[in-house]
């Protein structure tokens, strides 16, 4: 892949969008991580927030310390001669998941639509390693991909009002786990007992952009043993 030519765009009084790529690709990640590292080093305490997403970084600087021209110059300097972070700085996670219709109400309908058996659908979802592209929506909600083309499924036409924490779902070619109870429109396949966001966790969020994730099928007994809650929240609407 060729070196990205970042475009620096005005986002607000004290923020720029740094556009590194035009399309979603797992190969973007080493560049995105390198850019993040450089920008954090360059800005130091004058950096307020850095929000990576699939192809962009939103950089929010301290407007009492820097004016827009200075910030833009720092960004340009930090992104010059970028080289990808080859050593995988992201961590790997295994997320034990109980795939079952009682906690994954879209498991059977999705398998049917895809002309797959449920075990085959589970096998295909759990055999891939996914990359965390971005966090957003709710604290600790990680957008991961890419799900294989054959499992891709559009969001529900009507989002559910309540989704249980730990629910594992698919939307288009992305997969994610809902960290807290929230509304949502992803296709739910199962549930993990693992906590995703906790102020007692180092770094607060289990998953960070750049991490890699694999889902590991477990049965109900193991799910309960690991502290999972099997209340079928999604059917109680």
């Amino acid at each position: 892949m060729s070196t990205p030519q970042p475009r620096i765009e005005v986002a607000s009084i004290d923020a720029f969008i740094l556009r590194l790529f035009d399309r979603i690709d797992e190969a973007n990640m080493p560049w995105m991580l390198a850019a993040g590292t450089r920008l954090r080093e360059t800005f130091g305490d004058a950096l307020v927030d850095l929000v990576p997403s699939y192809t962009t970084l939103l950089l929010h600087y301290d407007l009492q310390r820097l004016d827009p021209r200075q910030a833009r110059e720092l960004i340009a300097g930090a992104l010059a001669d970028l080289s990808p972070e080859t050593c995988a700085s992201g961590r790997s996670h295994i997320i034990p998941t109980w795939y079952d219709p009682s906690v994954g109400p879209d498991l059977e309908p999705l398998a049917q639509r895809k002309h797959l058996s449920v075990p085959e659908l589970v096998r295909r979802h759990s055999e891939r390693e996914y990359q965390v592209f971005a966090l957003g929506f709710t604290p600790g909600f990680a957008f991961m991909g890419l799900v294989e083309e054959a499992l891709a499924a559009p969001r529900l036409t009507t989002p559910r009002k309540r989704i249980a924490p730990g629910s594992v779902g698919i939307a288009e070619r992305q997969t994610a786990v809902y960290p807290v109870e929230s509304p949502g429109g992803w296709n739910l396949l199962g549930r993990t007992p693992v906590g995703l966001f906790d102020l007692d966790l180092p770094g607060y969020s289990l998953l960070q952009a750049g991490d890699r994730v694999r889902f590991e099928p477990i049965d109900r007994a193991e799910f309960i043993r690991l502290g999972g809650d099997d209340t079928p929240l999604e059917s109680l609407q």
Partner: protein, 306 residues
């Protein structure tokens, strides 16, 4: 104990300047929507400008003082009274134990800020006590809940000062708001007619307005880009979904999103928008980053020069 809450609503929230350094985790900013009025409420007592305050949204809030002291209010005129006697919308005042402070309903503006010596006590989470119900973060009990009947508020120190509000600094929330908007990257994707309409039409604040964002009703804006790959969203970003009605995103906005944007309101404009009730009319005024930045620094310096 310093104050006991007798009556409250979901719009009565402990706030400060909000959470920073955690947007990459999906954690929203939060914080006082009208940070200017929060600053003045604290200034009146000689507090740090971002000391913890109560954001009183719309009124229907009352509390009883449990000790003598000094409090201050700034922002919206919600018909505040102390033992039934009207209080000015902007100012510091003495309270005695047993007295009852009441905020009735909006007369001008939406949100009043109640400050106390040294700020109200609360347990910071990720560096802030800002209350965000959706994320179950912040507030008096560190669970994202609004202040409720029976809650007890404590203040942290003694009033250093009781200042008078400089009259020239008091904003007029009854006039049409003129909101400065910094032109953003997708500005060229909007049709010429839409750009003309955006800055030459009167906009009305929709009933769909909360701490996440405020929807504006007016001419339908047309953008070549219907949706984009999700990216970080700055404070005040004005996004335009396919229905063509812009949404100005405020403190509790989600951290990333994928609608094209006209640009972003300045922080001063975002604060002013937070004082607009549904049905209020406003105008968008284009500006650029450098000019807005100078304006902002001037406004903030004003606190130190009065």
């Amino acid at each position: 104990m310093s104050l006991v809450i007798d009556n409250s609503t979901p719009f009565i929230l402990l706030q400060d300047k909000g959470r920073f350094g955690c947007r990459h985790l999906g954690v929203t900013q939060g914080g006082a929507l009208d940070w200017v009025s929060m600053g003045w409420a604290n200034w009146l007592l000689g507090n740090a400008l971002d000391a913890t305050v109560v954001e009183v949204g719309l009124g229907a809030f009352s509390l009883t003082c449990q000790r003598d002291g000094v409090l201050a209010i700034a922002g919206a005129d919600l018909g505040a009274t102390l033992d039934g006697q009207p209080l000015p919308a902007w100012g510091a005042f003495r309270v005695r134990s047993g007295q009852r402070l009441e905020f009735a309903h909006p007369r001008r503006g939406v949100r009043a800020y109640l400050a106390a010596p040294g700020g109200f006590r609360g347990e910071p989470q990720l560096g802030s006590v800002a209350t965000v119900a959706r994320e179950e973060l912040g507030g008096l009990h560190a669970n994202g809940k609004a202040l409720a009947k029976g809650d007890q508020l404590h203040w942290q120190g003694d009033a250093l000062q009781m200042r008078d509000m400089p009259r020239a600094q008091t904003p007029d929330f009854s006039a049409d708001a003129r909101l400065e908007l910094i032109l953003g990257a997708q500005i060229g994707d909007f049709s010429g007619q839409s750009l003309f309409d955006a800055f030459n039409s009167q906009w009305t604040v929709d009933t769909r307005a909360d701490r996440m964002g405020v929807r504006l009703l007016g001419p339908k804006l047309e953008c070549r880009t219907q949706s984009m790959i999700s990216e970080g969203i700055a404070l005040g970003a004005v996004q335009v979904p396919p229905d063509g009605q812009p949404i100005a995103l405020l403190n509790d906005r989600q951290t990333i999103g994928g609608y094209p944007r006209l640009g972003a309101l300045t922080p001063l404009a975002a604060a002013r928008l937070a004082q607009c009730l549904p049905g209020a009319t406003l105008h968008l005024v284009p500006t650029v980053q450098e000019a807005a930045h100078q304006e902002h620094r001037k406004a903030v310096a004003g606190w130190w020069n009065v």
